[in-house]
Amino acid sequence: MSNKSAILAEGLHKHYGKTHALDGLDLTAEEGTVLGLLGPNGAGKTTAVRILTTLLRPDAGRAEVAGLDVVKDADALRARIGLAGQYAAVDEYLTGYENLEMVGRLYHLQGRVARQRAKELLEQFDLVDASKRIVKTYSGGMRRRLDLAASLIISPPILFLDEPTTGLDIRGRLAMWEVISSLVAGGTTVLLTTQYLEEADQLAHQIAVVDHGHVIAKGTSDELKAQVGGERLELTVTHKADMNDAVQALRQYSIGEIQIDIDHRHIIVPVTQGPQILAAVVRDLDASQIAMDDLALRRPTLDDVFLSLTGRAAEETDEPIDIDTARPLERSAR
């Protein structure tokens, strides 16, 4: 892995009327790594991807991808990048095979090469059986895989994935993560936008948290989590009288200040290694004969990142995010 920047953006600005979609965005991604852009809807993630993939011109600032200027060298750059996204941009009335062959042709591959490459990718993405069916008959996950396959036609050195797993179920999401990881292992540089901390955590070497069109924090997932405050136990005891005993029992697990809400019989304990200590906590509370209404282990979410970095929840931004899809995996911890 060299230290050359595959993606470099400096002071990107883009506004639509009075809305500042990008307000001085800076980014760098080293060759062969994954840069995750994390932020709620309307933060400017998609606008950033569109500028880096030559679809939009920035109002100010500059950006280079693969050493090529996104405005001046746009034509040359398009032959070096792949773009896939949340809208699964494939033609519904073409078959899977026809879609890939068409994109291959439009990348100006020889007819023979385009056909062979289409077959290869259908095999790689487990779509051979569906290759002769029109895409309208595909499931959401299959469309997304076809869309990703289309972006890989020329094995581009740099790949842009705009919310590649939004709307996928957990199985589809895991499969997509696996594919992305294997591409990166093969040397591809990936810029990935996501609303899910979990996803950035799994895939990204570097994460840039974007809000209101600029980066408000960046670092590795561990660095960001440390900043956010890690995991915490949240419990509700049945009887108000047990509150003190419960706090005493939990003190040994706490790595910070324990928050207490007496009226709601609610206790929040910052912890590390939550899953491992959960059983011990339950045993201790049981031994002290403290009855509980609820016990949950909460991991840092995008909301927590926002709360910690901006003092407000992600939902309070101009375009509210869908709470049901914004925390896909966190609930499994409950």
């Binding site: 993939t53 032959a79 990348y107 100006h108 095999e123 036609i153 020329i154 094995s155 696996e178």
Partner: protein, 273 residues
């Protein structure tokens, strides 16, 4: 579930050819995309054909008896109007198709590829031209079944069809500009259609303009649809008027000169949502 082997194809580098070659080659790839879809969405073509057939039957049998045309039968007068209306209405599919591509994110994908910029538009206008040719042929047949008797010689009829296709192509570019300028498929649908009603009905397509009030007649006699209808009608009925034909061609060429650059510009700026 998903195998992750490294791609084996060796030469994934684009072929180097002059850009003019790609202007045509890319347009053909996209024209083919639309043409293979036609039999897969049969209802679209069926409805595109049923509408003008209804117009033929309604005008021929409902209004036909009440409209007297000097020198020929009403159905002979009517058919030129129907042909022009068919290609002009048919051109709206161009804009609707582009708005759909835009909404589905396909335009974003195409614009991120190293392909010719004009190809998405020319591919679509060419395939719509092929489609419209088919619909005109169906209309011609329906006309013959209800008593239409073309008078012009073969060359005149060929020229009439040529003018219709030029009209179809020109109006497709207006439609493309509209489709790329509005924000939804629904808007492309209504914005693409609404202005065509006064243009086709306040014209010589279905009735002679002499019966209209002066203000309307002034508009009707100078707008492009009337010129195109009169030129086509002259060719079909064997009394072609060179001046009208040239004016009709000039309108079409003028439309192309204005709307090709406008739509290419709109395409270069648009992204989904």
């Amino acid at each position: 579930m998903i195998s992750t082997k490294v791609p084996t194809t060796q030469s994934l580098t684009p072929q180097a050819r002059p850009s003019l070659y790609w202007t045509f080659a890319d347009a053909l790839v996209l024209a083919k995309r639309h043409l293979v879809q036609i039999p897969r969405i049969p209802e679209e073509l069926i409805f595109a054909t049923i509408q003008p057939i209804m117009f033929v039957l309604l005008f021929r049998y409902v209004f036909g008896g009440a409209i007297a045309i000097s020198g020929t039968t009403y159905v002979n007068f009517l058919m030129a109007g129907i042909f022009v209306q068919t290609v002009v209405f048919g051109s709206t599919t161009t804009g609707i198709g582009l708005a759909t591509d835009l909404q589905r994110g396909l335009i974003d994908r195409f614009r991120s590829l190293p392909m010719a910029k004009s190809a998405v538009l020319t591919g679509r206008t060419i395939s719509d031209l092929v489609r419209n040719t088919f619909v005109v042929m169906v209309m011609w047949t329906v006309g013959l079944l209800v008593g239409f008797q073309p008078q012009g010689n073969f060359l005149y009829l060929l020229a009439a069809v040529g003018l219709l296709l030029l009209t179809s192509f020109a109006f497709s570019w207006i439609s493309a500009t509209i489709g790329l300028s509005v924000n939804s498929v629904e808007a492309a649908q209504s914005a693409g259609f609404i202005w065509l009603f006064p243009l086709t009905f306040a014209s010589s397509a279905f009735v002679p303009t002499q019966s209209m009030p002066t203000w309307l007649r002034t508009f009707a006699e100078h707008q492009p649809v009337t010129q195109i209808v009169n030129a086509t009608r002259g060719l079909i009925l064997n009394h072609p008027d060179p001046k009208t034909i040239w004016i009709a061609i000039a309108w079409c060429v003028g439309i192309l000169i204005v709307f090709i650059p406008l739509s290419v510009r709109a395409y270069g700026r648009r992204t989904a949502r």
